[in-house]
Amino acid sequence: MTISIDPQKTNNESLQPKGWLRYFSFSLDHKVIGIQYLVCGFLFYLIGGTLASAIRIELASPMSDFMPRDVYNQVLTLHGTIMIFLWIVPVVNGAFGNYLIPFYVGARDMAFPRLNAVAFWLIPPSGLMLVASYFVEGAAQAGWTAYPPLSITTPQSGQIIWILSVLLLGGSSIFGGINFIATIIKLRRPGLKLMQLPMYCWAMLGTSLLVVLSTPVLAGTLILLSFDIIANTGFFNPVLGGNVVVYQHLFWFYSHPAVYIMVLPAFGLVSEILPVHARKPLFGYTTMVFSIMGIVVLGLVVWAHHMFTSGTPPWMRLFFTIATAFIAVPTGIKFFNWVATLWGGKISINSAMLFSCGFIINFVFGGITGVALAQVPFDIHVHDTYFVVAHFHYIVYGGTVFIIFSSIYHWFPKVTGKMLNEKLGILHFIITFIGFNLCFAPQHWLGLNGMPRRVAEYDPQFQFVNQISSLGALLMAISTIPFLINVFLSVRNGKNAGDNPWNALTPEWLTSSPPPVENWEGEAPLVEEPYGYGKEISEQK
């Protein structure tokens, strides 16, 4: 059975607002939705960053003198929740996925445009609700993990708003995932084979599978938790015969894959960016594809490595340690493939390339500490210390956020038709890279020496190292300034980019910048070799 697409109906051009107003409308254009995701996510990043600054100011001194302890707990909970559910997941999936995937599969839009718009418009209200919960009776205090019994005993209204907000964001994420799977599998241009797709498509396919398989489990778990809070049931309340460890299992069944939901798309994006700026084909395409799928499968069976101190039986510790260690194999393959892509390439040192290289460096460090944390004896030693904080910030900030910036520098010319200023971009990179490492590298030492996480006060012997870390956080906060100046100046009077400033071969560059409403005038091009760099030169010889 076939359906006919009537552009008048699908895009309703005559009814949609024009110019900047369309970014505030229920637009069905995947490019508009992508930008909506990105800008909305970035605003929440600024809020989450402000909260992070508050945390680092508090931790500059050993006593809780900047804010009361319960406010500190609220701030760290909001910081974690906002950064994960409102910045990284929507941006690295929703923003770049919506913008790029239809180009990559040679389509005019996503498979389900209306569902797509619904998925985006769930985000601003739930995000605002979450932030507003601070002003009601205090926001949730139980951390982004919302472990019971803590989440059951802290003030109820904040926790319930937190649950509602995360449920809505999870729904948005599932709708997005369904859309990506359908688009990549079903909406490919005739003649385009799966193994010819740019790597980001594979990354998004894997990510979306994880989203569809694991997010519903979190939704179910949070519904049970809300029953515990409102209806006085005892699913996770030991006093009423419940079991807190069951919550942890169900929670991490989603939240470990969530790590890959945050980092796999970044793997895909860096695989797009490196070949363009190194003028070389992506090394080991097939191994990349199998590594992604390997990570997807393994990512679903390693969750209990977050729970080695929760009374897990020895066989469980053994299994989850080994399974986790195995993930290092596909990840290592990808790492070596990126390095091999750069090897001998004609590398342009620009902001996109610098941020991508920063990603590789930070990520390999975060990966090594990750393998270390998977080992039970070591994990028990540093569990719930700053070592864990340092580890996952190396993955999500040093990894994913670096790639988000790299992608913004890479695709800004496509989206706006203007170039970003390279000098400001490189300044942005230098401050971010130094600030990030200054902030989080010392936290490994703090964790190894036993400083617990999520506590407003600490032993005075850690003060000096904490101050170094806070200095790094200050640099990270400052680093946003050149970036924002750069974006505002370049949108107004940046250098004209032309259609393809990087001479890239992936399909999104084969149309005008910014692209027309339905992506191509005329038929979509068939790109069989998205990474065929360096060939024309050898042919000329």
């Binding site: 059975m1 076939t2 359906i3 006919s4 697409i5 009537d6 552009p7 008048q8 051009e13 005019r108 498979a111 389900f112 569902l115 599932i174 995932g177 369904i178 859309n179 799977i181 359908a182 599998i185 079903k186 909406l187 569809v212 398989l213 694991s214 997010t215 519903p216 489990v217 939704a219 179910g220 778990t221 519904i223 049970l224 029953f227 209806a231 006085n232 049931t233 005892g234 699913f235 009423l240 015969g241 419940g242 079991n243 069951v246 299992h249 169900l250 069944f253 339905e518 005038e521 005329g522 038929e523």
Partner: protein, 200 residues
């Protein structure tokens, strides 16, 4: 190959161009049902874990009465068959037959819900009595919510198929096929639930 002129032509008459592609709404629905199934899988996993590791206090172990849930299982299985009949009838352009089968399916769904409520009112335990009771109500309640939504959707498509001039025709089978798939899914979940919760 499109020439430059004809591509301009396409641009100009954009609203008149009709491209066709395969219908993948069903594919999207299947993906969604997999996600929905994972929610149930989470609940089942929680229930089975509780059963294995959290011994219930004395007096909290119940022999569940089987007649009503067995009747409910039969009701749902029969309703799956009648729904299938409705689809067959619509395919042969017998719209009024199809509508009758749909209403009958919805009727069976409503009977199921009434039986479920009847069972709730006659159980010896309430929602917050103990862990088993809470899990029992959460699982059957979540499933009952699905049956309620399914029944409403069946009534909507039955309304849409009203004789001539309805939206549901043999040319536009998607609404019926989508709801049918959803209904079979809900039935399948019930069978698993019945085995795990009542028989195990």
């Amino acid at each position: 190959m499109t020439t430059l002129d004809s591509s301009k032509e396409i641009q100009k008459n954009n609203s008149e161009v009709n491209e066709t592609h395969e219908d993948f709404r069903m594919f999207g629905l299947i993906t969604f049902l997999i996600a929905d199934g994972m929610t149930f899988a989470g609940f089942f996993a929680a229930y089975l874990t509780y059963k294995a590791v959290n011994p219930l206090p004395d007096g909290a172990i119940y022999e569940l009465e089987l007649p009503i849930p067995t009747l409910n299982t039969i009701l749902l299985l029969v309703s799956s068959a009648t729904f299938h009949k409705a689809g067959k009838a619509l395919l042969k352009d017998k719209n009024s037959d199809s509508q009758k089968w749909l209403f009958f399916t919805a009727f069976l769904g409503i009977i199921f819900l009434i039986c479920q409520l009847f069972e709730y009112f006659h159980l010896p335990f309430g929602l917050t009595d103990n862990l088993f009771a809470s899990t029992f109500y959460a699982l059957t309640g979540f499933h009952g919510l699905h049956v309620t939504l399914g029944t409403l959707m069946i009534l909507i498509i039955a309304w849409q198929s009203r004789m001539n001039g309805g939206r549901l025709t043999s040319q536009n089978m998607f609404p019926l096929e989508a709801v049918e798939l959803y209904w079979h899914f809900v039935d399948g979940i019930w069978v698993v639930l019945f085995i795990i919760l009542y028989l195990l």
